[in-house]
């Protein structure tokens, strides 16, 4: 098997996913051995552009310059894999995507000072701009899940990621359900893959894996309303990590409710 050419690229985010790749300590050397890494700016200096079998892209897109770079990467790659919740769903910085108001917020942080770098805009997930073959979500990605996917891609096989919600892993860990205790847990809306770390520490899931494939937003919504949370709070909490993805669903939901009235 000739080793596939891969590249790792970081855009707007916390660099946590690239860091998790570096965190694969024992397996990192294997990873570098099994692939030809053309570019990985966070790990090495001798990076070059070129045709890629797989490009791993981290972070959401929030400047014109990044957008150009992303398009270039897409052109050079057979397969583009979004890694991390920012790349997959937009991440925290995209939570207000549907609301607008970016200019004002930008002004509040940077004032009227002009920044000569590329023009900035509200962050959006990678697939808002280019085709994405696979999403490996997580804030940050989980080592096991990432390695499982990468090893398969390298072997010319199709990765399998859990499609069910965090609750399932939460039960595998035999945690009592936080929702039944009346607290806010985003587990039912959130894709599994983290091993239900938070509920395993008696802490509600805040949804950092982003939305699961088959979520019932309105059920969770109604449940939380019953438990005394107000609509604003629910929406605010739910889209913290789901970013654009969940924001859209919440919007659709409220539109549906309006239509019913």
């Amino acid at each position: 098997m000739s080793s596939p050419k891969v590249g790792f690229y970081g855009f707007t985010g916390c660099a946590g996913d690239q860091l998790m790749v570096l965190n694969c300590e024992d397996r990192l050397v294997d990873l570098f051995g099994a692939t030809e890494i053309l570019s990985f700016a966070m790990a090495k200096s001798d990076n070059h552009d070129g045709e890629l079998d797989v490009a791993f892209v981290e972070g959401s897109i929030s400047t014109e310059e990044q957008l150009e770079h992303l398009k270039d990467i897409r052109k050079r790659s057979k397969m583009l894999v979004a890694i991390g919740t920012c790349a997959c769903w937009g991440g925290p910085q995209a939570m207000k995507l549907e609301e607008g108001g970016y200019e004002e917020r930008y002004k509040k942080v940077y004032g009227n000072a002009s920044i000569e770098l590329s023009k900035a805009f509200e962050a959006q997930p990678v697939d808002a701009f280019v085709k994405v073959e696979m999403k490996i979500p997580g804030c940050p990605i989980d080592k096991t899940e990432f390695l499982s996917a990468v090893t398969k891609v390298v072997a010319g096989r199709h990765p399998y990621l859990y499609k069910f919600p965090v609750c399932t892993e939460c039960k595998w860990k035999e945690n009592p359900c936080i929702l039944t205790e009346g607290k806010f847990c985003a587990g039912p809306l959130t894709k599994a893959g983290c091993g239900a770390v938070c509920p395993s520490h008696n802490i509600p899931c805040v949804g950092c894996w982003g939305p699961t494939d088959d979520l019932n937003v309105s059920a969770e919504y109604n449940l939380l309303r019953e438990k005394g949370y107000d609509v604003d709070e629910i929406v605010k909490k739910i889209k913290k990590f789901g970013g654009a993805g969940v924001a859209k669903m919440v919007k659709e939901l409220s539109a549906k409710k309006e239509a019913k009235k």
Partner: protein, 340 residues
């Protein structure tokens, strides 16, 4: 064979039993309970009702490796399971294990389940029902077989049922702790205990006639109402002692196609569960998935085996965040209205 044992001897007995294998028992996890590995009786909470996950987790772990493979073929991964003694299993869970046994040990015997079953001793313990228990409705409140030993707490002493030759072997390790002098009072005591236990149930659920009601209510809008509430979180199936569905995936080693074939708990509540080639999904609607599960538990199984696949443990009642469970669903179907 029924023996008698002094209550204070239990600890010493379990201490000796540990020679056979690891001791596991119900321990506190916040305000809930879970089977954990323990060193001594004192770490267990025998008053506890249901554990979060039933003992199926021992016989059939949430995720495990079936095979290692390389291009020479598949090599089964067995032989890594320790001997375990589960103490404090209740009658409902023992019934659950019997249902699992039927599934996994009869036609096409499952070697992974069989190995774990073989290496696990079930030491049952009597229990006091709470408001969620409904084993009286499923006829699983008492148990006559399926355990190795069963301890009924009669306040002053234990009556110990010996249910298998392996259970008998355990007794033989400390024969001095057991005796056979059952007197008149003991029999009266036990009879009173049974009727007292039966009187403790507060759950009003009644499963008689369910197969017909399911048949009649197959197209009832009740299902859609339930589906609107369901989170598709899959908790109900994970905690159910008779749910056995699983999924299988291959994992590979970096740079090769050597790897492992793993198996993990799946749920019919998930959309992905019933998708087939071409993307067609037989149960794309949440309502159809709920219907499958409840039909399986309360109608189809009764039709096939004469008893529901529900053992009355109350876990779905305790677990589902939106109150969808055997009690609420059967009530909704009967009354044609989803309760609040």
């Amino acid at each position: 064979m029924i023996l008698k044992m002094k209550k204070e001897d239990l600890s010493a007995f379990l201490e000796s039993a540990k020679e056979w294998g690891e001791l596991w028992g119900p321990t506190r996890k916040g305000d809930k309970v879970a089977f954990e590995k323990v060193d001594a009786l004192s770490q267990m909470d025998l008053k506890a009702t249901r554990t979060i996950i039933p003992p199926k987790k021992f016989l059939y772990p949430p995720r495990f490796t079936m095979f290692d493979f390389d291009d020479g073929g598949y090599v089964e991964r067995t032989g890594e399971v320790p001997n375990r003694i589960l103490f404090g299993i209740h009658p409902c869970d023992t019934h659950g294990i019997q249902t699992m046994d039927k599934m996994f040990l009869e036609e096409y015997k499952d070697p992974y389940y069989a190995e774990r079953r073989e290496k696990t001793l079930l030491l049952g313990h009597s229990c006091i029902p709470d408001e969620k228990c409904m084993c009286s409705a499923t006829d699983t409140e008492f148990i006559a077989e399926g355990f190795d030993l069963f301890f009924t707490d009669l306040k002053m002493f234990y009556l110990v049922w010996v249910g298998s030759s392996r259970g008998h072997d355990l007794v033989q390790m400390r024969p001095e702790l057991f005796n056979r002098d059952i007197g008149k009072d003991d029999i009266i005591n036990y009879t009173e205990y049974r009727s007292w236990k039966s009187s403790q149930f507060t759950s009003k659920v009644d499963f008689t006639g369910m197969p017909d009601i399911f048949e009649l209510g197959y197209n009832s809008p009740v299902w859609d109402e339930l589906a609107e509430k369901c989170l598709s979180c899959g908790q109900c199936t994970m905690v159910c002692p008779t749910c056995n569905c699983y999924n299988v995936v291959d994992e590979v080693e970096l740079g090769t196609i050597d790897g492992t074939r793993d198996r993990f708990w799946d749920s019919c509540m998930f959309r992905e569960y019933s998708v087939v080639a071409g993307g067609h999904n037989f149960r794309d609607r949440r309502a159809d998935r709920l219907k499958l599960w409840y039909t399986h538990k309360l109608q189809a199984y009764i039709g096939e085996f004469g008893e529901p696949a529900c053992v009355g443990c109350g876990r779905c009642v305790a677990t589902c965040p939106v109150d969808i469970n055997v009690v609420s669903v059967s009530k909704a179907l009967k009354e044609q209205e989803v309760g609040k």
